[in-house]
């Protein structure tokens, strides 16, 4: 279905696309946590 060569194209950062996606998810969790702290602190 998906061109294998393109699917396997290596990420130029963090070694693999898997790591790039983990970075995105980790950043999202961190941002949500910081916003929660922000909300509670100024409530």
């Amino acid at each position: 279905m998906i061109n294998k060569k393109e699917q396997e194209e290596k990420s130029p950062i963090l070694g693999s696309w898997r790591n790039v996606y983990i970075l995105l998810i980790s950043t999202l969790i961190l941002v949500m946590f910081l916003l929660y702290v922000f909300t509670q602190y100024f409530k």
Partner: protein, 563 residues
């Protein structure tokens, strides 16, 4: 606006437009016009994707929304990074492999001609209406600063964007968007700095945030699950994920941006950049609105932020009654300032009992202020039955023009125009691409030259531009624009996404099944929206699931199609 502001505004806009035209010179074929020859690097893709989503509405309406409703809108974007991951893994390789101009082209190969046409039609309808709203936003500014009717400013603004998009195509759109984002970020940082700087000497950023927080404006996270609540962490992650997946994965105004990447890697990196930057950027824009709210606790705001409506009523039979309400509003607000000053002192002294006491007094004062304001708004409505009673789109603009120093006013207004130009240009470009590729080239006369197709694309851009300007004339009735544009998208995005999800993951389902599933799903979504069965973000999830389930069921029920 002073002469300095006009110079800054005109020079910035002219520079951007000439830069875009210079970069896109020598365009000879439809590939260059619609996809910038697929040669752009990741940072171009990323900034172009961000600029397409961040329209003038973002910079006009989002601070106004934060002013009136607090920061909770930021949760709307929580699904975006997750959607970026799915698009990077599934959508980009698929579109790149098929070498398509539009996302809908893929559907003919996978399903059939009618499913491609239906999906492209749903997109044209949704994007045509949304782009109309996008044109309306900068028209508000022109109308306010020139003090002329919004009908004229809509045609001026629409006309400028059409000229610029028709000439440059996608290349001009992408190149100018990169520059626009740089100017936009610098201007916003300056605006935030100025708001804090204009607070009273004894009130710092921390105090301003505490005041806003005590008055319920820093509600960035709401963990309560409630289907009728528009913005909470669950609607943001789940509903927002489906909305963003559909927007970035199937809306040609975005697909057209990342298809310009010179490889799968460059397109993916552009979207990853968007996933990392988007939430902090939106948080910052909303925070500016909250700071404006804090500023107006120490300075009396206008009773109604739309200055054109205020000028009109002041020349009418209701002028005396309106002036009386305006005076009363000022008195109530000035009385309130003693509580706000008391709150700052109580916060500094860390006196929780006093803080709670003042908060209760502030709420009572706020309720009194609301009654006066509502009376003033009723007078505006009585004076002009067509008047827009929601003034939240004018809050930030009113603050900028009244309080910021000359030069910066021109720059901030230029930013809002640039954002409008970027997103409207992307919208018009995607409407023209979809119309040409998915309808004109398929159903029109065959064997036309490249030049003839290029000319047809330009004419299609002009025609869609006029359609959007007509929509813009009616956009004032839709309330807060950033919400209106997302509600409108939610009516179609779930169904369109459902069609693509069936295409990618339900390999045996045929075109006829998904075609009828999409029609039934769209009728159900419109029905849910009209009767307000749920808040709008959930419509994206419901639409997608309905199409998927109906398509599977119909596939089992309908007679099998011959290949």
């Amino acid at each position: 606006m002073s002469n300095l502001d006009w110079v800054v505004l005109c020079v910035t806009l002219l520079f951007i437009a000439l830069y875009g035209m210079w970069k896109s010179r020598g365009m000879k074929n439809i590939d260059g016009y619609l996809l910038a020859d697929k040669k752009l690097p990741w940072y171009h893709v990323g900034l172009s994707v961000m600029a397409t989503q961040a329209s003038a509405i973002t910079f006009l309406s989002a601070p106004g929304l934060a002013y009136s409703d607090g920061m909770r809108f930021v949760q709307f974007y929580f699904g975006l990074p997750l959607a970026m991951i799915v698009i990077c893994i599934v959508f980009i390789p698929m579109f790149k492999k098929m070498n398509v101009y539009t996302a809908y082209e893929y559907l003919e190969g996978r399903f059939d001609s009618k499913t491609r046409s239906l999906t492209a039609f749903l997109f044209l309808l949704q994007r045509g209406l949304s782009t109309g709203i996008t044109i309306y936003a900068p028209s508000i500014i022109l109308s306010t600063i020139l003090n002329v009717d919004i009908i004229y400013t809509t045609f001026i603004m629409g006309g400028i964007v059409i000229l610029y998009t028709v000439y440059g195509g996608t290349k001009a759109v992408s190149y100018t968007q990169m520059l626009q984002m740089g100017i936009i970020f610098s201007g916003l940082f300056m605006a935030a700095y100025m708001v804090v700087d204009m607070l009273p000497a004894n009130v710092g950023l921390g105090d301003a945030l505490h005041i806003a927080g005590k008055m319920g404006k820093l509600n960035a996270i709401d963990t309560q699950f409630d289907l009728s609540n528009k913005y909470n962490i669950w609607s943001g992650i789940i509903g927002g994920f489906f909305l963003q997946l559909s927007y970035f994965g199937t809306d040609q105004s975005q697909v057209g941006r990342y298809l310009t990447g010179k490889s799968v890697t460059q397109s993916r990196l552009g979207l990853v950049m968007n996933g990392l930057v988007k939430i902090p950027m939106q948080f910052f824009i909303l925070l500016i609105g909250v700071l404006v709210f804090a500023f107006y606790q120490f300075n009396t705001p206008p009773v109604f932020f739309n200055s054109v409506e205020v000028s009109q009523i002041k020349e009418s039979q209701y002028a005396e009654a309106f002036n009386a309400q305006e005076k009363l509003f000022e008195e109530v607000h000035q009385n309130r300032q003693q509580y706000v000053t008391g709150l700052v002192d109580a916060l500094d002294a860390d006196d929780e009992t006093k803080v709670d006491e003042i908060r209760t007094a502030l709420q009572a004062s706020k309720a009194q202020e609301k009654v006066v304001r509502d009376s003033a708004v009723s007078l505006i409505a009585a004076n002009n039955i067509l008047a827009d009673k929601n003034d939240s789109n004018y809050i930030f603009l009113s603050f900028v023009t009244k309080y910021l120093p000359h030069g910066l006013i021109g720059l901030l207004i230029a930013i809002i125009f640039l954002a409008a130009m970027g997103s409207t240009a992307s919208g018009l470009n995607s409407l023209a691409s979809t119309f040409i590729v998915d309808f004109y080239k398929r159903f029109g006369k065959k064997g036309r030259s490249e030049k003839s197709d290029l000319n047809a694309s330009r004419w299609a851009t002009v025609a869609w531009g006029f359609f959007c300007m007509i929509v813009a004339l009616y956009a004032g009735k839709l309330g807060n624009l950033i919400e209106a544009v997302n509600i409108l998208g939610s009516l179609f995005y779930g169904v369109i996404l459902g069609i693509f999800i069936v295409a990618f993951f339900a390999k045996n389902v045929s075109g006829t099944s998904v075609f009828f599933a999409a029609i039934v799903g769209e009728i159900f979504i419109i029905f849910s929206a009209v009767f307000e069965l749920t808040s709008y973000l959930w419509l994206n999830l419901i639409g997608c699931v309905l199409v998927y389930v109906f398509a599977i069921v119909l596939h089992e029920v309908l007679p099998k199609e011959e290949k």
